[in-house]
Amino acid sequence: MSPLNRQSLVDIAIGLISLGLGLGVYYLTFGFQVGASSGLASGMDASLYPRLIASILIGLGLILLAKTIFGARALQSESADISPSSGQTGSGLLKLFPLGIGFTIAIPLLGYFISTSIFVVAMLFVSGERRLLLIVVTTILIVTSFYLLFRYGFNIVLPEGRIWRPRA
């Protein structure tokens, strides 16, 4: 598949997402409408503004779809926040996301010290680090310094973990 076709498919997907999102939001606004819509003449109720934005999203989705399908290529410029990556697309997602989700589930169960230690070791490993000493030192450094910073710097008690908490 040529790069242009691939980009066109991505743009079509973005257009469809924008369209779907706009329609979804528009539909949801009926759920929180208070009284009859009074329109612009005598003020706006809570649903009118989100509907306005939903309509904009629908319109922009349609424009992008039309531009892509009818061959008008979007102007691309050098960007500060679209950073091209040299690696394989999706590999970062596969490396980090399971770890992140696992960590978020583990914190309330295992507590800060155990879950963070496991997370840091795993994170260093997936980042390509294989030097055992560096992994151990980094883990101790990050876990301890964060604990001290949050506990004594910001007076925040980090999660203790349900399975370690003494039963009443």
Binding site: A41, S79, I107, T116, E129, F154
Partner: protein, 498 residues
């Protein structure tokens, strides 16, 4: 002037000075790391500013913004990778200088030029912000709506990718800002029955997820190795003489930086390249540009540092952020209940002067900090990438947790991380979303107030006000302009013989 100095003295004590110094040092370090930059620095710091007073938190954020804008030049000069996109123009001459054994000269010039540009931007900010805010005092909801939409449209149409995608991103930001309780009627919107969403989406989760987590995901895919710096780099005092010998370049580039910075959505990258081009055209040694011309480093660094002052001007005086980093800072102020803009100027003029003083002090401190700590900043480049990625991720997670001490915020962090990653891969700019999220409440409030006070003549009222009318004419020009230019180019291509 004396009252300004008194205000600065009142608001900038030893604590705030400490935060400025910490900010500049941290900002320079983060700015020097390829793939990070001032946006990442400000994003990672926002959660910790919850625990500071508004002036101290802004001192920290401004310091990071200033340090980060300069830090990118270090990696640009030494390893040929700009730490930040705004240092891309600096690379053109700083890297060749470094390759020919003049690394110390290149980085010192960048330090001196950043210092000069920052101070120049600070002085302009100090002089212009109160006047602009006084002018804006008469603004009503129509003008506020027009200005907010100008800021959003400019960033959406001038930032990355296509205008349509930029506008989509901005509209999504406006949409996300409506989550939670409606400020006018108290009706819950898009909360899906979750009590955690009643107060709206947490700004920190959105910001850190969108920028930092998605950047880390991209970094994990990158195969760029950690840099190895072998050359000894020291501050070269003889470069200070260029302030006298090349004063025109310093002054002109700083002026370009401030002027470009004031325009919403343009930013440091444009100012640096524009200034570089003008400096090259005006230099007698044109052919040296791109091969290691000191004037090229001066032009780009003075301009991008002066841009920071220009970008803060519309935020502090009009309440409209000029670039995404400033939008984040504005978000940081809103967290503390401080809403920048003309009303803030009227009620909190001493505090505004304090903030302006902080900017100037931060800019001034860049030179001594750069002078003393340059060898340390250079060594930072050798830190293993795996360590940095892990450290930044831990900061993201616990910084977000610290905001409300809720695990729900960490779940939001992953969701926005995923969204940011998808947007990057799809070529949708992230900045308009953040600006839309920050400006969302202002846009909605202005629109609804306008609808209430205009009675039956909404459009007549809206377009009957010259400033509002000018704003909407500019918005129309920004939206139609790129389409017309695209059509013209397509027509020219079709008409050309080949």
């Amino acid at each position: 002037m004396i009252s300004v100095l008194t205000d600065i003295q009142q608001f900038v004590g030893f604590t705030q000075l400490q935060y400025i110094v910490i900010g500049v040092i941290l900002g320079t370090i983060i700015g020097a790391l390829p793939g990070c930059g001032p946006m990442m620095g400000v994003t990672l710091t926002i959660p910790f500013t919850y625990y500071l007073d508004p002036v101290s938190s802004l001192a920290l954020l401004i310091g990071i913004y200033q340090g980060g804008s300069f830090g990118g030049a270090i990696s640009a000069a030494l390893v040929g990778i700009p730490g930040t996109p705004i240092a891309a123009a600096t690379l053109l001459d700083a890297y060749p200088m470094s390759q020919s054994g003049r690394a110390s000269e290149a980085i010192t010039l960048a330090t001196v030029a950043s210092w000069f540009g920052g101070c120049f931007g600070g002085i302009v900010l100090l002089l212009a912000a109160p006047s602009l805010a006084s002018f804006a005092l008469s603004f009503g909801p129509a003008e506020r709506l027009g200005l907010a939409l100008i800021g959003l449209t400019a960033i959406a149409s001038l930032s990355a990718g296509s205008t349509v995608k930029g506008l989509m991103s901005g509209a999504l930001g406006l949409m996300l800002a409506t989550v939670g309780s409606d400020p006018f009627t108290g009706v819950n919107r898009f909360d899906f029955g979750l009590p955690e969403l009643t107060g709206g989406l947490t700004f920190v989760s959105l910001l850190v997820g969108l920028f930092a987590i998605s950047e880390m995901l991209v970094q994990l895919e990158s195969t760029t190795p950690t840099a190895r710096i072998t050359e000894k780099v020291r501050f070269s005092t003889k470069c200070l003489w260029t302030l006298i010998t090349d004063w025109g370049n310093y002054l002109r580039s700083s002026l370009i930086g401030v002027l470009v910075g004031v325009v919403p959505g343009v930013g440091g990258v444009t100012s640096a390249f524009l200034s570089y081009k003008i400096s090259k055209d005006m230099s007698p040694d044109k052919e040296q540009y791109g091969k290691g011309a000191p004037g090229g480093v001066v032009a780009t660094e003075a301009a991008n540092s002066a841009t920071t002052g220009g970008a803060l001007l519309p935020m502090l005086s009009l309440g409209i952020p000029g670039d995404p980093i400033v939008a984040v800072m504005m978000g940081g102020l809103l967290i503390h209940g401080v809403t920048p803009g003309p009303a803030f100027m009227l009620t909190n003029a001493p505090m505004l002067n304090g903030i302006l003083g902080i900017f100037l002090i931060g800019a001034f401190l860049l030179l001594p900090i750069g002078w003393l700590l340059l060898p340390v900043f250079v060594r930072i480049l050798s830190i293993p990438k795996s360590f940095l990625t892990t450290l930044i991720l831990a900061l993201c997670i616990f910084g977000t947790y610290a905001t409300n001490r809720e695990l729900f915020d960490i779940w939001l962090l992953w969701i926005f991380g995923l969204l940011g990653y998808a947007m990057r891969k799809g070529g949708v700019p992230l900045s308009p979303l953040v600006i839309g999220f920050v400006l969302g409440p202002i846009v909605e409030e202005s629109l609804r107030r306008l609808a209430t006070i205009s009675g039956n003549d909404f459009w007549g009222f809206l377009f009957g006000r010259p400033i509002a009318l000018t704003c909407f004419a500019l918005i129309a020009a920004m939206l139609i302009g790129p389409a017309l230019s695209q059509m013209y180019r397509a027509r020219s291509r079709a008409q050309s013989p080949e």
